[in-house]
């Protein structure tokens, strides 16, 4: 049996700050600005917002944002774990909240100065060795110098290359597609700056086998959404981006970024779990998806995502990509905003906004006939995904 809220809620407002390398503003200011913009985009007033769902790792407090926006009362507030894995999970939670009546208009946002203040890419080398679950977990990796998100993902990538014969160039083609799409996006950091596969191969090593251009940017910025029921959405100005289905997934022997102890480490079973829920709740399949935003903190894990959703068979994503399928004009253009490599790294939330724009028809790289858009959240962590659909 599917989830009762499937298809009954919608994203009715999106709003973002500028995406930059140094916002020059506090994260609270970014949070308030993007939320303000999303509420306006939805044609609502702040006092109509009565729910809020954030990432657990969001620094800003619901109450501070509410106070600054002039939101008087909140009847639902909750947080979603696991960093970028939370992205679609926040909308999943918001959809459940409005469908259940816990709130009517739910605000979701993510805002940070990830480039100018707290960079994830610098690594975790300075943590204190406390006997807490998190430090015990780092104890299996940090003493050996496996300290950065890129290195955690590279371990999967090397094994994937070994098992399926994928190459660095196959990963590079994801970067080339992202940057090609970003080149058309004035909001993207890499607007009008496409790259070639040669550029990718020549870019410096971050952690072998990953080059610099396999890695997403680090960015400052904020991205917000307003979610409400489809019934209410029909009274609002924007065409609703219906949350046809949303799902979270955590799979057997799940670890944070380092699920290295499973029988297989070249698939993403937690994403497969999301996929099965989405197909079940929508009755759709891979052929019904016109475009997808696949989480791209690092290029290699885009490949098994294509496999988990059945766009190609297991181990064949490199061929699928090599055939040009993921670029505009291909079978499944991905990351039409430029992705997190090309547009900005806003923890996957800017990708969800691009999904909404594809449904509204105002993407900078519109995919003709985009009726169902798949969006995924962070890979290598407990994750989430959703399908946005048009109302016609």
């Amino acid at each position: 049996m599917g989830m009762s809220f499937a298809g009954k809620t919608a994203v009715v407002g999106i709003g973002a700050t500028d995406f930059s390398k140094n916002s020059g503003r506090s994260t609270l200011r970014l949070a308030v600005e993007c939320s303000d913009a999303a509420i306006r985009d939805a044609g609502l007033r702040p006092e109509q917002i009565d729910g809020m769902v954030l990432f657990t790792v969001e620094d800003n407090h619901e109450i501070d944002v509410a106070r600054n926006l002039g939101i008087p009362e909140l009847t639902h507030f909750s947080r979603i774990h696991h960093s970028g894995g939370a992205a679609c999970g926040t909308l999943h939670q918001a959809a459940m909240a409005v469908a259940s009546g816990a709130c009517n208009y739910c605000l979701v946002f993510r805002a940070f100065n990830e480039r100018s203040e707290t960079r994830f890419g610098v690594g975790v080398q300075n943590r204190a060795p406390a006997p807490t679950p998190m430090e015990v977990d780092f104890g299996w990796s940090s003493p050996f110098g496996l300290l950065t998100p890129a290195s955690w993902v590279a371990m999967f990538a090397r094994r994937y290359m070994h098992e399926f014969g994928a190459t660095s160039e196959d990963f590079g083609r994801v970067a080339v597609a992202d940057r090609k799409h970003a080149a058309n996006n004035p909001k993207a950091h890499f607007y009008e700056k496409p790259i070639s596969l040669e550029d990718h191969q020549q870019s410096r090593w971050i952690v072998k086998p990953l080059h610099l251009l396999d890695c997403c940017q680090e960015s400052d910025g904020g991205q917000a959404f307003v979610v409400t029921t489809l019934e209410r959405a029909l009274d609002l100005p924007q065409p609703p981006a219906i949350i046809a289905a949303a799902a979270q997934g955590s799979a057997e022997d799940q670890q944070m970024m380092k699920s290295y102890y499973r029988d297989e480490i070249t698939d993403i079973p937690e994403m497969g779990l999301c996929a099965r829920q989405l197909w079940r709740d929508t009755g759709l399949g891979p052929s019904d998806i016109q475009t997808a935003i696949l989480y791209d903190h690092f290029t290699p894990l885009v490949l098994p995502q294509l496999e988990e959703f059945g766009f190609c068979a297991r181990g064949e994503a490199a061929d699928f990509i090599r055939d040009g399928n993921i670029e505009i004009g291909g079978r499944l253009p991905i990351n039409t905003n430029g992705g997190q490599l090309g547009e900005a790294y806003i923890h996957g939330m800017n990708g969800i906004a691009e999904g909404v724009r594809q449904i509204r028809g105002d993407s900078v790289n519109p995919v003709p006939g985009a009726q169902n858009v798949l969006v995924t959240a962070g890979t290598a962590v407990p994750t989430s995904a959703l399908i946005l659909s048009g109302s016609h």
Binding site: S142, G145, L147
Partner: protein, 464 residues
């Protein structure tokens, strides 16, 4: 012109170029005792060198000397002064003495190229003659300020047959004038500590095990299933009574990465983080050590070595396992360009350095006398070039098989092999045509690349 030298100094040295010295007759004929000593010291167990029966059945039809011993036969050993021929007439010796007199008293070999025209047999008497081929201008090197001297030596047997040739290049330098001698040990001492693991009541057994010199894997006391990382309850059977077993320490590389950027002060690049699958079935993260990072491969056999690095406690690290010696000689048609030789770690001990120096009759003090080596500006004794040649030859024939015949061995030395290190040889096939095979190899130690070599082999062209 360098300020340290008189005008015309190099020009004077270069007058020796092209002049042949006297013919030197080896002090002993090729003999089984020296061959056995060499093979023991090098760890070379190829039976064609020491096993008369096996050698008689081989393509050699009898015992042969390891080809890399070529130069060893004509070394002068600990010959008392004045008992040899008049060295001053020898152009090579003359150049060396002139450099000694000018303060370039330290010596290190940098290159050698051996051509083996035919393998030597017991009873052969080696006659050699040397020509100075080049003397360089003064150069600043990592070891010190000095001159490269290149010589070429022809080897004949007692019947006048040409049996081999050697090009040899050494650096004569002034002790204490280089960077490398000073740098050495300091850097590691200043390296900050690695991140320490968080240790809980549930995981303490793992870290305590390392201090006790063993790698422990958690095991359910009820259903015997193994778990890593450790748990508090066996998800298979629900039991809370979890113990551990000691791992054999054998495993294979399941995946690996080489972090490059950002650099972490606690980690000395280049370094490899490996995901090792133990033969018991669990995996763990570790460093793959004692190997050129570029030579690490998924599937490579590795073995545990527990070490305290710049860490509070001991860490479980893994290094390559020396592959077994091939008992059967590979056929040329079974060797393809790009084939890789499995890496082979060789522990560099004081014993290895000294025993191989003596086995090669090389009594240069820097290869056996630590005090004198340090006086000459070296942090310790170091391996001589003949041993590096011998180990490269052994590595290639251990892979190719006992009847592989080495035709040519050329090598260039990089950083020295000091005691208490490990040099890991790795290699790949560069060309293979009708049984003529060229293998490129590298020997990598903690300081970097010790040797880059090319070995040309003759193999039976086709398998039967």
């Amino acid at each position: 012109m360098s300020e340290s030298e008189e005008p015309g100094f190099v020009a004077g040295l270069r007058e020796s170029i092209g002049r042949s010295g006297s013919i030197w007759v080896a002090r002993d004929p090729v003999n089984p005792a020296m061959i056995r000593h060499w093979c023991d010291a090098m760890g070379d167990h190829n039976p064609v060198y020491t096993d008369a029966d096996a050698a008689a059945r081989s393509i050699h039809a009898g015992i042969v000397a390891p080809p890399a011993m070529l130069m060893a036969w004509s070394m002068r050993g600990l010959e008392p002064a004045g008992e040899g021929p008049d060295d001053a007439e020898d152009p090579g010796t003359g150049v060396y003495r002139a450099l000694d007199a000018a303060g370039f008293t330290s010596v290190v070999a940098t290159n050698s190229e051996h051509d083996y025209i035919r393998y030597l047999r017991p009873g052969d008497e080696l006659h050699s003659s040397q020509v100075v081929e080049d003397v360089s201008e003064e150069k600043k090197t990592g070891l010190g300020v000095g001159h490269f001297v290149t010589t070429r030596t022809e080897y004949r047997n007692q019947h006048g047959e040409s049996v081999g040739r050697m090009l040899f290049r050494i650096l004569k330098f002034k002790p204490g004038t280089g960077r490398m001698a000073q740098a050495g040990g300091q850097e590691a001492a200043e390296r900050p500590m690695r991140p320490q693991p968080g240790i809980s009541l549930d995981t303490a057994f793992f870290w305590e095990g390392l201090e006790a010199g063993e790698l422990r894997i958690q095991q359910c006391g009820a259903c015997s299933v193994l778990h890593h990382p450790p748990m508090v309850r066996c998800p298979q059977c629900g039991n809370y009574d979890l113990g551990w077993v000691e791992a054999s320490g054998r495993g294979t590389v399941y995946s690996h990465v080489e972090p490059v950027h950002p650099a972490f002060a606690a980690f000395d690049p280049p370094y490899v983080v490996g995901l090792v699958e133990l033969e018991e079935g669990t995996r763990l993260l570790t460093n793959i050590v004692d190997i050129d990072p570029e030579a690490v491969r998924v599937g490579m056999p590795v073995e545990l070595v527990i070490r305290r690095e710049n860490s509070q406690g001991s860490l479980p690290l893994f290094r390559p396992v020396c592959p077994p010696r091939s008992e059967v000689t590979r056929a040329g048609d079974a060797v393809a360009v790009g084939d890789e030789l499995p890496p082979c770690p060789i522990p560099i001990t004081t014993t290895l350095i000294i025993s191989t120096a003596i086995a090669s009759r090389d009594y240069q003090d820097v290869h056996h006398d630590r005090d004198l080596a340090m006086e000459r500006g070296s942090p310790d004794i170091f391996m001589n070039i003949l041993t590096t040649s011998g180990l490269c030859a052994r590595y290639v024939t251990d892979w190719a098989g006992p009847e592989a015949v080495i035709k040519r061995l050329s090598l260039q030395l990089g950083v020295p092999n000091y005691p208490n290190d490990t040099m890991t040889l790795s290699g790949s096939v560069r060309s293979s045509e009708a049984g003529r095979v060229e293998v490129a190899i590298r020997g990598y130690n903690r300081l970097g690349n010790h040797v880059t070599a090319n070995v040309e082999l003759e193999l039976p062209p086709a398998s039967d």
